[in-house]
């Protein structure tokens, strides 16, 4: 009995915390399948491995570099957007495109190509939406790579 008030207290505060941090306060119902499961796989591990002549060690090393490098490139994209620097957007998108294509990540490649085109054409009118899409694609890819690394480690 003595425990109950403490439990309620936590639940009451949850929506307020969410509002303060700007996150979505509506919880996703557990019963529904996650959107990730419905979508095409983020990357083709087999294709990458083939590209690397079947070298698992190199694959793992590249994934680690990518996990470290991609947030830096995203940061450059955001900075380019914030300062209206189309060339910076083009450069960062180009690098991202190279990396995610190497990892045979179709969705992410398309998102990066779209950003690169915007930068090349010096038209940043739709860039914030394109960056959001890029982020979503990258999140999926990073999760897939991390899962894979976990599996490989086991």
């Amino acid at each position: 009995m003595a425990d109950r008030p403490t439990e309620w207290k936590g639940l009451e505060n949850a929506p307020l915390r969410a509002r303060l941090t700007g996150a979505d306060p509506i919880p996703v119902p557990k019963a529904e399948p996650s959107p990730r499961a419905l979508r095409a796989p983020s990357w083709s591990r087999a294709e990458v491995l083939d590209r690397l002549g079947g070298d698992e060690e190199l694959l793992q090393e590249l994934c680690q570099i990518f996990l470290k490098e991609s947030p830096r490139l995203m940061e450059k994209l955001r900075q380019g957007m914030a300062s209206g620097d189309a060339e910076a957007v083009q450069r960062a998108a180009h690098s991202l495109k190279g990396e995610v294509s190497y990892l045979a990540a179709k969705g992410a490649s398309q998102a990066a190509r779209r950003l690169e085109d915007m930068g090349r054409e010096r038209d940043l009118s739709a860039v914030s939406e394109a960056i959001r899409l890029m982020e979503r694609e990258l999140d999926g890819l990073r999760r897939a790579i991390e899962d894979d690394a976990d599996r490989t480690r086991r």
């Binding site: 690397l52 190279g98 294509s101 190497y102």
Partner: protein, 333 residues
């Protein structure tokens, strides 16, 4: 034109040291691709230098011992792959660089631009390991062909300017070098000395001991002469047993001392041959052109004066040095 080279005995047959064909420069700003390239190249036993921008690559490629194969990413900070390629071709001397340009799959038009800028081959991202290996092999093959061509060219150039028996500059080359030094003297007034040297009674060696022994004597004498003079003096075989030594930036006293050292190094010890030791001596005529001179001498005048001095050294008993214009004999019989 004769390239500047050490003037002592030159090493016939190996005019150049081997070039590093196993070194590769990787210029790539993206860490993923840099790692891929480094990983494979090292696995295939290449020595890899990698940089992250075009300017650093340019600085390395300008060095004399730079890697001869360069893998350049198209898009790089500071200087992109294509501009780097253009600069490289514009400034390329005899040393050829094989350039493999790396570009993205959907920038096909880039390939034409890249090849026009001077790239030898290209690779599109995402490339697989077999393709990389094949392109590198192509580059290696071309570099080896280029290397062989340069070696033959250099060997021919060497032979064209050197005396095959002694390895000294030949007559044409030593006269060309003298002409160059005379012009420098005329233009700047820098001191210039010339020695005309003759092996005494060489004909007798040939006649009594045979030409094989005569050749040994010539070769050994040439060696000693080249070792006796300074690094920046030029030693050439002028005729049968006659030699010319061009001595730049040297006043009359130093020239005389140098000639005396030369005389002494031949006079003792005798030359060892299959027919036993052969005692040889030198007669040397020297001439010194010193500033200020009322009219700077030309090549013919210098040669004539040195020749006259040599004649005097012969007439005064051989195994001695005579200086043109000054009656001064050094050395003993």
């Amino acid at each position: 034109m004769i390239a500047a080279a050490p003037n002592g005995i030159l090493h016939l047959g190996s005019p150049e040291k081997p070039r590093p064909l196993d070194a590769v420069l990787v210029a790539e700003d993206d860490p993923v691709f840099r790692h891929v390239l480094e990983y494979w190249l090292k696995k295939w036993d290449y020595r890899v230098t990698s940089v992250e921008n075009g300017l650093d690559a340019w600085n390395i490629l300008q060095k004399a011992d730079s890697p001869q194969m360069a893998i350049l990413d198209w898009m790089m900070p500071a200087m992109d792959g294509v501009e780097l390629c253009r600069q490289l071709r514009r400034h390329e001397g005899q040393r050829y660089h094989f350039v493999l340009l790396v570009t993205s799959k959907d920038d096909k038009q880039d390939v034409v631009v890249g090849l026009s800028a001077g790239a030898d081959d290209y690779l599109t991202k995402p490339f697989n390991v077999d393709e990389l290996r094949a392109r590198i092999r192509t580059g290696e093959r071309i570099l080896h062909l280029q290397d062989a061509l340069i070696r033959v060219h250099e060997a021919l150039r060497f032979e064209a300017a050197h005396d095959p028996l002694t390895g000294l500059w030949n007559r044409g080359a030593i006269l060309e070098l003298l002409e160059r030094e005379v012009q420098l003297h005329q233009r700047t007034g820098s001191a210039l000395g010339l020695m005309m040297v003759d092996l005494d009674h060489f004909k007798q060696v040939n006649d009594t001991q045979g030409h094989m022994v005569g050749d040994v004597v010539l070769r050994e004498s040439a060696h000693r002469m080249a070792a006796s003079v300074r690094n920046y003096d030029w030693v050439g075989r002028y005729g049968g047993e006659e030699f010319l030594i061009v001595v730049p930036g040297c006043d009359a006293d130093a020239l005389l001392a140098s000639a005396e050292r030369l005389r002494a190094c031949i006079a003792d010890p005798p030359v060892e041959t299959t027919a036993g030791p052969v005692a040889m001596t030198l007669s040397i005529g020297i001439v010194s052109a010193m500033p200020p001179s009322p009219s700077a001498p030309n090549l013919e005048k210098l040669l004539y004066a040195a020749d006259l001095a040599l004649y005097k050294a012969k007439a005064n008993g051989r195994n001695r040095v005579e200086m043109a214009g000054i009656s001064r004999a050094v050395g003993q019989h």
